[in-house]
Amino acid sequence: MTLTSPDRRTLMAGNTAIARGAYEAGVYFASGYPGTPSTEILENIAHYPEIRSQWAANEKVAFDEAMGVALSGKRALCSMKYVGLNVASDSFMVFPFAGTIGGFVVISADDPGMYSSQNEQDNRYLARMAQVPMIEPSDPQEAKDYVKLAYELSEMFSTPVLYRTSMRVSHSKGIVALGERGEYTGERRFVKDVPNWVVPIFAKSLRAKLDAKMERLTAFAESYPFNRVEEGKSGIGIITSGASYTYAKEVFPEASFLKLALTNPLPRQKISDFCARHEVVYVIEELEPFLEEQIRAWGLTNIVGKDRLPRSGEYNPDVLAQALLGEKAVEDFTSEFDLISRPPQLCPGCPHRGAYLALKKAGVLVTGDIGCYTLGALPPLGAMHTSFCMGASIGHAFGFELGGMDKVVAVMGDSTFIHGGIPSLIDVVYNGGNTTTVILDNRTTGMTGHQEHPATGMTLQGKEAPRLDLVALIRAIGVKHVQVADPFRQKEMFQALQEALQHEGPSVILTNRPCIFARGEKDRAKTPYVIREDKCTQCGACQRLGCPGVLPGEQPRIDEVACTGCSLCAQACKFDAIVLKGVV
């Protein structure tokens, strides 16, 4: 199969290549929700006007929309971070019972090593659980080419396909040979057929059909050409997929490889034959022993896997060489040097800082959520005390309250509130809670790189959209005590917090300052603050705000390039030593 023309080579990141793959595969519709390391997939798809693409309120909505498009007979894609697939799993687990009409691919971007994630989760198990085929690319060229393979499988077997990438595949660049867009013109359209599409009533018969489909897929996997064998010269065989393949090729250039593109269902005969032809077979896979446990269950014994290789963390060639060849690690001499770390901090001028300073002063228990504002848990702010996953903080706060804890406040970002906070706020009202919620409305999806969402009033493509009115929404939910407060005015912010805490019944405060990187903010003229050394007593109060714009040292100074003039340090200074530049 020729996928590309050799004269059109370009350097591309894995996520950009996935977007290109969607374009070339004739994808008609794409949806998703931002989440590292998946965000750039949809951002790049947005550059192709041939594909209708949009940010969804959350991953389940993205999945359901794409599902509707696929059932209409067109090729649809949805993309998300691996934890996003947890959100979308309700649909994902049921869809295979009916199967699809047009090609349907869900992209899950895993994060081995947890570079920007709350847990280390191996989503390959979800493909097995949902009983769908799973495709895994190992580099940018495959990232592009395998999108097309995924659609072919999806249509051949009328099934959703899980396309699993990982941080290293998504965020590595390589040379990619481009192809043309093939317009997909599927002949099949949705036909009303209750026994096939009303799954709950007909689940029993559909279950039997799904099992039969997986049997056909398993037989197909045996001869699938992209599960390829590379004959080597040593007695070592390696079974691997994804980014691990690239590391293993570096460390074992002489070995034979069974490189799997389709990692669910597994080709039992092909794997058994490969194992029989080699003295020892290394199963090299990041995270859980997903392949290994299945292979061992078939009674194959010349296997080396998690008995030698780590089960957590990202792999790299060093990890493989140390675990399998007994190589000694190169001495990391940084421990001999007094190396100061560079911990992540909220940006200079970040509005979350003002909210956290008020919360800290109030001395309340703060349940937190997912976003830049998770950094408010770290010193010197230390004003957020729990954080687990998207949209959980309001439910947690209500739970703490029911559990007998006093003065609990939930914090949640604007995008997160739309994603998963609304039902829990409804619940607080419905069940007579007293919970106070602070919506840190910075008018963007900050952590993932400033994506639009329904309350920013802009689409993925930067076109105007109806702007979700959060205050009206919260009032409509039935919250009677709703305030909008300026986090850069500490007195006002603290006062609002006190009033909310004293209010009998649910209360919500929305902060009203945008992220310094939100649309239009970067170009806004800013006057920085400066420190008057004649008045400064070097008390250090300004240095305890966790602002990177206030430089460390006995005599604090302000980085005038970084300073946005938010004034929080000036409000924290008891000696009036911090003044706007030019005002003496």
């Binding site: 590595s172 190169v330 911990p343 990177p548 460390p552 040292g553």
Partner: protein, 201 residues
């Protein structure tokens, strides 16, 4: 052709990622295979940033192995120490003569002294690059990245034509002239440093 392994490191906001993108594009102009990777996510302004780049033939992994980098280009002195152990024995570290004080929590620590002595004690070759001073002389403090790339170009087997092609393609029109000048200044600086080293100076 053997694989060349390059590491670029620095502090978020210094232009490490732009520089590594330019380098990767230059390598892609004339090499069979190029792989580049970096860490995204919480590496924001002020955080430590590292980018791996490998080119040549038979490049699979984008990750440079520890102790195998041919050359490390450090945009900041302290970061040269943080990633120095990636460099192969006797390998080269190009160090931008810039100190960026890390944001600190708790007890204040002054910026560490003795970085050059420490690294040369590890058997690594060092070359200090006064990019900030050069940039100032060119009248634009933001072109340090291109000066550093100019110096780096003198240590890599990539043609001047490829460098110029990519810089012209990647840098916006209004900033192109000063960046080309900056790159040339870096080339001159790198060449004189290489000659001085060759003559034992």
């Amino acid at each position: 052709m053997p694989v060349t392994n390059v590491l670029l490191c620095g502090v978020g906001g210094q232009g490490v990622l732009l520089a590594s993108e330019v380098l990767a594009l230059v390598a892609a102009e004339e090499k069979a295979e190029v792989k580049q990777t970096e860490v995204h996510g919480v590496a924001q302004r002020g955080g430590s940033v590292v980018s791996h780049l490998r080119f040549g033939e038979g490049v699979y992994s984008p990750i440079v192995r520890t102790g195998e980098a041919d050359i490390l280009l450090a945009f900041e002195r302290l970061e040269a120490v943080r990633y120095g152990y990636y460099v192969k024995p006797g390998g080269l570290i190009l160090i931008n003569d810039v100190e960026i004080m890390p944001g600190q929590i708790g007890e204040y620590k002054p910026y560490p002294a003795g970085i050059m002595e420490f690294l040369s004690g590890k058997g690594l070759r060092l070359q200090l690059i006064p990019a900030a001073a050069e940039a100032k002389a060119l009248g634009n403090v933001r072109v340090s990245s291109l000066i550093l790339l100019g110096v780096l170009s003198q240590h890599l087997d990539l043609s001047p034509r490829a460098w110029e092609t990519v810089i012209r393609r990647r840098i916006p029109e209004r900033l192109l002239e000063v960046n080309l000048k900056a790159f040339e200044a870096g080339v001159e600086l790198g060449r004189s440093q290489v000659e001085a080293a060759a003559s034992g100076g």
